[in-house]
């Protein structure tokens, strides 16, 4: 076992071990639970980074185990270039969300379980990106759901939390089942449960290719919350406690994109995927416009940002649907940049809710003087999501639109470009109402906790840096695409 394999395993096992420790210590670890989780998340992030040199050397850290040979079940982890950007995003978001939780989450005797579930959620996401065999992939994929669902059901805000958790579980599980059927068909065709075998090429009847691709795309679209299978998202994001919302919106939505890249796109050829190009673009634009309109119509600050995720995922699906190099690269880049910006926005909104105790936009206003730092960071986030240069999302949106204009469907490309105007509209409207505008009566502002402010500021800076210097991330994404697109494009 060489060093890379160790790093590969620690990426997963650090949060997993912390989960176990926290569950076992339970009531005795209340005060240290947050620190333990933070340390594990940091360690996991460092491990993920430590994989980079190996990847740049051209190695692929792999770990495999023959688990149940009789039933043809192998466990295989593999950190390739495609997994890396997603893994890094997930690990960073987890770390920041845990730090944010130090300030946001009120410690009580159940806190160890709260942090344990956060860690389990992180394990699910990291495992999903690293798994290279079907059984393991599905276990991690569902672990993500189970852990986040538990967090929403127990620590959610409002009396509807259990109903919301149920809705979230059933919606997402429906998507998972579609993915599972698709995977099982591939497994049957390949005769192996290793994704490497899938990638090596699978002979499938054309009708089966269509079925599998449709199942994969719909299944992953549920996770990405694309209209009309987005229904779980606004409720889940609005009800979940803020650290969980951050992980859901910034990291978990990206897993849907990862799935689309990993399965239909890297297994089937360009010709096989071509018929799905226009439907994906249309669904993407629909979601983009619908999400933005709903964000404009919402009055709850958290739900505004939640609907903006529906809209942003629309961009990503549109980019994937172009089936051009620029479009797919832009979509992948957008996952990373959207994670930064969405985490930033939710953190800003969390600070506002925490400081004022209010969530309705009509009851907020003129906060720029009372909380200048939060105002600055949130405005950076809102401008970033509106695609203002030089902030990071400008770069990825640029690539997505560039991809759009390389397809024959120019009408769709123009539509998507104009759809982005709506994004600008809700972003500006949001900051206008919350930070400027008239001050509503009786609005008092509490001092925010440092642990909530620090990650917010960090992300605002990151949004700017990534916008100016996207090269390293861009390079990683490029490597990922070179891997899956290969000679096809």
């Amino acid at each position: 076992m060489n060093a890379e394999t160790v790093w590969l395993l620690t990426t997963l096992s650090a949060p997993l071990a912390t989960t176990l420790i926290l569950v076992l210590l339970h009531g005795r670890a209340v005060r240290v639970s947050g620190w333990l989780a933070g340390a594990a998340a940091l360690f996991s992030l460092v491990s993920a980074f430590a994989l980079l040199p190996a990847l740049q050397r051209g190695d692929v850290p792999t770990w495999a185990l023959d688990w149940v040979p009789a039933a043809n079940i192998h466990l295989e982890l593999r950190a390739d270039w495609l997994a890396f950007p997603f893994l890094l995003t997930e690990a960073s978001v987890t770390l920041l969300a845990v730090v944010y939780a130090w300030g946001y989450h009120h410690l009580d005797e159940r806190s160890p379980i709260f942090y344990a579930l956060l860690m389990l959620f992180a394990v699910g996401m990291a495992g999903t990106t690293l798994a290279n065999s079907m059984f393991l992939f599905y276990i991690f994929w569902e672990l993500m759901l189970v852990a986040s669902c538990g967090l929403i059901a127990v620590w959610g805000e409002g009396s509807q939390r259990r109903a919301v958790a149920l809705k979230y579980f059933i919606f997402t599980h429906l998507g998972s089942l579609m993915v599972l059927v698709g995977l099982l068909v591939l497994y049957d065709a390949a005769g192996s449960d290793s994704f490497s075998a899938f990638q090596a090429g699978i002979e499938l009847a054309p009708a089966l290719v269509t079925t599998v691709t449709v199942l994969f795309i719909i299944g992953f679209c549920v996770k990405m919350a694309i209209f009309p299978v987005h229904l779980w998202l606004p409720d889940a994001h609005a009800v979940a406690p803020m650290p969980v919302t951050i992980m859901l919106a910034a990291a978990m939505l990206g897993m849907g994109t990862y799935g689309v890249l990993r399965f239909p796109l890297s297994i089937f050829s360009m010709e096989q995927m071509a018929p799905f190009s226009v439907p994906m673009m249309v669904a993407g634009i629909t979601s983009e416009i619908y999400g933005a309109l709903m964000a404009l119509a919402e009055r709850d600050v958290k739900r505004v940002i939640a609907y903006s995720s529906v809209s942003q995922m629309g961009y990503i699906l549109y980019g994937l649907g172009t089936l051009t190099y620029e479009g797919i690269a832009g979509a992948t880049l957008h996952v990373v940049f959207h994670a930064i910006v969405k985490a930033l926005l939710f953190m800003g909104v969390g600070l506002i809710i925490h400081a004022t105790g209010r969530r309705r936009i009509t009851e907020l206003g003129d906060l720029r003087g009372a909380m200048p730092l939060t105002a600055f960071c949130t405005i950076v986030g809102a401008l970033a999501i509106a695609g203002v240069p030089p902030l990071c999302i400008f770069d990825s949106e640029w690539m997505i639109f560039a991809g759009g204009f390389r397809t024959p469907q120019l009408g769709l490309a123009i539509l998507s470009l104009f759809g982005s105007l709506l994004t600008v509209a809700y972003a500006l409207w949001f900051i206008g109402r919350v930070f400027f505008g008239p001050r509503p009566p009786g609005l008092t502002v509490k001092r925010p906790h440092w642990a909530m402010v620090a990650p917010t500021v960090l992300l605002a800076i990151l949004a700017l840096i990534e916008g100016l210097v996207p090269a390293p991330v861009f390079d990683w994404v490029n490597q990922a695409l070179a891997m899956i697109l290969g000679g096809n494009w």
């Binding site: 009789a70 958790a165 149920l166 099982l184």
Partner: protein, 490 residues
Amino acid sequence: MTGNFWVVLPLICLIGGAFAVYLVARFLTGRNDLLALCTAAIFTVALSALALLRFMTSAEQLSTWGRFGPGEAFLRAEPGALMIASLAIGLGLLAALYSGHYLTLERRYETYYPLLLLLVAGLTGMVLAADLFNLYMFCELMSIAAYVLVGFRRRTQTAIEASFKYLIMGSVGTVIFLLGISFIYRERGHLALPAAAQGALGLWGRAGMACIFTGLGIKSAIVPLHTWLPDAHGRAPSSVSAMLSGVIVQSAFYTLLKVSLGLGFPARNLGTLLIVFSLLNMTLGNSMALVQTNTKRLLAYSTVAQVGYLMLTMGIGLRYGLAGAIQAGFFLVFIQALTKGLAFLGKGVSHFYFDATTINQLHGTAARLPLVAVCFTVALGGLAAVPPLAGFTGKWFIVTNGLRSSDALGFVGLAVLLLNSLLGLGYYLPLIGALFAPPPVRHARRFHISPWMAVPLIVMGALVIAVGLYPGPWLGWTAEAASYLIELGK
């Protein structure tokens, strides 16, 4: 009387033990915990006897006991039967320990423990039986013990009603079964199982098969013959419900397969029949469970659905000759014993401490009895097939093997199975939610769970997780059982 004495030893232990426990209870001690220990000891001895038997039998030459003529025997140690009997005895052992505290609510220990032993003895005899007559006798022994145990809370009217309903339907079932046996005897002139190859069944034989299928269909809760089950499983003491839902129904289903195939019913047709009926079982069981408010009735309907999954995979295996699917079926039997047993035992603890019967009354279980909430959640997650728990692994095997079906019927079945597992979430998740909901009163009392109840819960909860994560060793167990059943169908 010749043959391998080890085959009959578990039965002797169980039946003899039943009388011994009764005598101990009458003349030596009336203490619940001591009687529970005695019963548990008897189960342990019986389990060890079975384990020894398991090592002494080979799949090529099955041990038998009680040879009269060539090819005739009382009991035969088939791999599938051994597996189910061990599960029943194992679950009985845990149920007995559990009753060591649970039963203080009910009293009348001197009848309970012997009946529990006889229930398992009947089951063991039924699955091991090598001729129809003995099979029938043991089936009746099991059933009668079950009727009494269902009505064990004799002061509650609903329990008596449920027991009576079970008695009527069960007796009709066994009478029809007996009629079927007599038809078979008229045609064949003997009752050996499996019958030596005698060609296709004649008219009488077919009528007999139909009767046997109906009779055992009632016992294994095949829709529309399932109506007794929600009442019986919902009203019995939880330790008994765990046995009924965990192994009794499944053992009756195994017997149905064994008898049908043994009498020369074509495997392909049997498989088709099972797949078709499984669609009903899965859909009806899950739909009815969705609307239940009583926790145990909900779990009982979920048993109907679980039997449906079992029928589907066995049906696919028999119809298409896929040993893998049958193996998945046996694996599922094992998992159901664990998850269903655990769910009922968990439910029983909450009933014991704070009298929870409806789902709403379970609110606050996590605050009052954390261990129970966790174990119950593991059981429900297992039943709902949430990875990485055992139920998920079971369904995984069903689907991966079922994909080898060679025509549409198998795929229809799998599609219905997947839709049903979604339907199942609709009631398993709210139940889990109820466990973790805040208690109805502030500062609810926290109970200290008795070790008698805690130990079975922990053992089974750990097994559900372990089997889900590492199914390897358990699979080997089921491989022999599956190949035996495939052989029988040829």
